[in-house]
């Protein structure tokens, strides 16, 4: 229907990659290339480290970092003499909005882990990926997958829809205990529902990465205060990639509040710190590094020793901790042996 003066009220012009390059000042051009947008919810990885990977972790096969078992052996397991490595497969499968789809994806991920990794490499173990926002489906997947001896823990991500101590998640922890598995809680997760801080979304990736430690703190508090460990005294929880320098003062603070507010939580029979000391393990990367390494020894001391600290590298990610250079402080040989192997062997039943 031709008219004299046509008006189209919706036409889209599209930016091509690099189109803005000449129009950005150098500082923000670099930012655009290296960090880029972090989405509505922040907390993504810098664009300049695609797949959050070390630049040298891209295998010659053309597969993405961490996707090539042979290269993993060559670059990581062999040269560092890794006796056992625990795979924590990071995938959005665990938090898809459609629970049935999430469960199907997670089961597929776990079957793929068995076929392509655990059956092919005796040094590897893995965490069971579960659709954790639907605890019943997650528990069913734990009961199914745990039959394979290569699975040594249940894997959750730290940013959940609600704090993990709340009852809706209890079937996950029950299933873990029923199958003799610890529950690992890893850096990451979230699906835009909750901002990363109590004051909303921060501006910078440095903030996202720092704030994740506070997400871990909230989960520790929730699991302890809700009485999960009273209900499930055999439950063991591993905090992965969340640091632990904050753990001592968190225990002090919880104990202080509990002394005065114990009547709110009569289901707790012991000070909160007692549950932390008994039920939590932590991995090292990214270990907080005080200017004076002795201050880290004070943290260990406050945690009641080194028997709950387990070394990790975060391979192949950009913030990898090199086993030869991590934890450069004076530790008794037994403590070093515990941290770099013994504690994990004991927790995960490796030998």
């Amino acid at each position: 229907m031709p008219v004299d003066q046509l008006v189209d009220c919706d036409i889209h012009n599209e930016l091509t990659p690099g189109a803005l390059h000449p129009y950005l000042p150098p500082r923000w051009r670099a930012y655009h290339e290296t960090y880029g947008g972090r989405g509505d919810g922040g907390a993504g990885y810098p664009k300049g480290a695609p797949r959050a990977a070390r630049a040298d972790a891209w295998p010659p096969s053309g597969l993405p970092p961490g996707a090539d078992l042979e290269f993993l052996r060559e670059q990581h397991l062999d040269p560092y003499g890794v006796r056992y490595g625990v795979l924590n497969c990071l995938t959005t499968a665990c938090r898809e909005q459609n629970p049935g789809y999430a469960a199907a994806l997670c089961r597929a991920v776990n079957e793929w882990q068995v076929a392509e990794w655990l059956e092919k490499e005796p040094r590897l173990r893995a965490g069971i990926v579960v659709p954790y926002e639907d605890a019943a489906l997650a528990a069913a997947e734990i009961d199914r997958a745990a039959a394979h001896p290569g699975f040594v823990q249940v894997l959750l991500l730290v940013r959940t829809d609600e704090p993990l101590g709340r009852r809706r998640y209890r079937p996950i922890f029950e299933a873990a205990v029923r199958n003799g598995l610890p529950v690992g809680i890893h850096f990451g997760g979230g699906r835009g529902r909750n901002p990363l801080t109590a004051s909303g979304w921060p501006s910078f990736y440095v903030e996202d990465h720092t704030a994740m430690a506070q997400a871990f703190q909230a989960q520790v508090v929730s699991l302890v205060v809700e009485g999960v460990f009273e209900e499930l005294p055999e439950l063991r929880v591993v905090l992965i990639e969340g640091g632990f320098g904050w753990l001592p003062s968190l225990m002090w603070r919880m104990d202080k509040h509990w002394k005065r507010l114990a009547d709110e939580v009569p289901h707790l029979t012991r000070p909160p710190s007692a549950y932390v000391r008994e039920h939590f393990w932590v991995t090292t990367q990214p270990v907080e590094e005080p200017p004076d390494p002795r201050h880290l020894l004070a943290v260990f001391d406050n945690m009641g020793g080194t028997d709950r600290i387990m070394f990790s590298t975060d391979y192949p990610h950009w913030d990898f901790d090199d086993p030869r250079r991590a934890l450069r402080l004076k530790l008794p040989p037994e403590a070093r042996a515990q941290i770099f192997g013994g504690n994990a062997m004991a927790l995960y039943g490796l030998s």
Copy 2:
């Protein structure tokens, strides 16, 4: 219009106070009486401590705790020999949704503080209450109120709509510096927009109270990472009722991330911990109390000394720290004098 069979589809039956009492099992009856509902957003005060007050802080005058200057003198200033006391008036005025109303309320609060408190009692100083979600209005109130010498800081609450380093809040910090005042950030705030944790709302008040420390952590990170102290090198910030046991490991973590991600924040010319050490002060209550008091000395050591630590009681609130019993650890006399007075005198320009 009478009909044969009238149906009213909306009638309300109302619970009277105590109506549920006989129907609740003892544990939840006690909970109902002492803690009660915490609203959609959690983080309120326990019902069993009305107005969050010490039971003995209700003045014989019938006024609420903290409302009776004469009783404040008798119960607190005189017996403890308080030389100066800084009033931090907690009111929802600062976060009313209507910015004009909020500004009018805050101005009224400040005028009331001058007339009823500062002019009547030479030992008292106060924080300027501001409508901080509208920074332009807040800055105007700072410029107006700062003329009175009794105001020694600007008072914000820690749970803001966005992290305080974001540019929308910058006029507040500029106004504080312009008027030579530190900015105090106090426990509390929030208006239901952001959950208290990165995984949503916790179940228990113990959790709310513990999680507030994480809200403080996020604000420290935001103020440092956004470069507020590069723009305003004279800005001084006081963290009030947020604890500080978490501060050392937060500095370690920020420095570690900054080393690797410095190109994201080229506006920072120094390690994040350097800004913290230079620009932040903390108050003691509720001081985290490690089982071994020497561990608190390690925290002081990690903070670079005791020159930024200022004693506080939180009078008349339920979790009051008694000056005669707080900080029972071996401190050099100079450090004790700093913490219990000298640091505040220097910061607030008291003599």
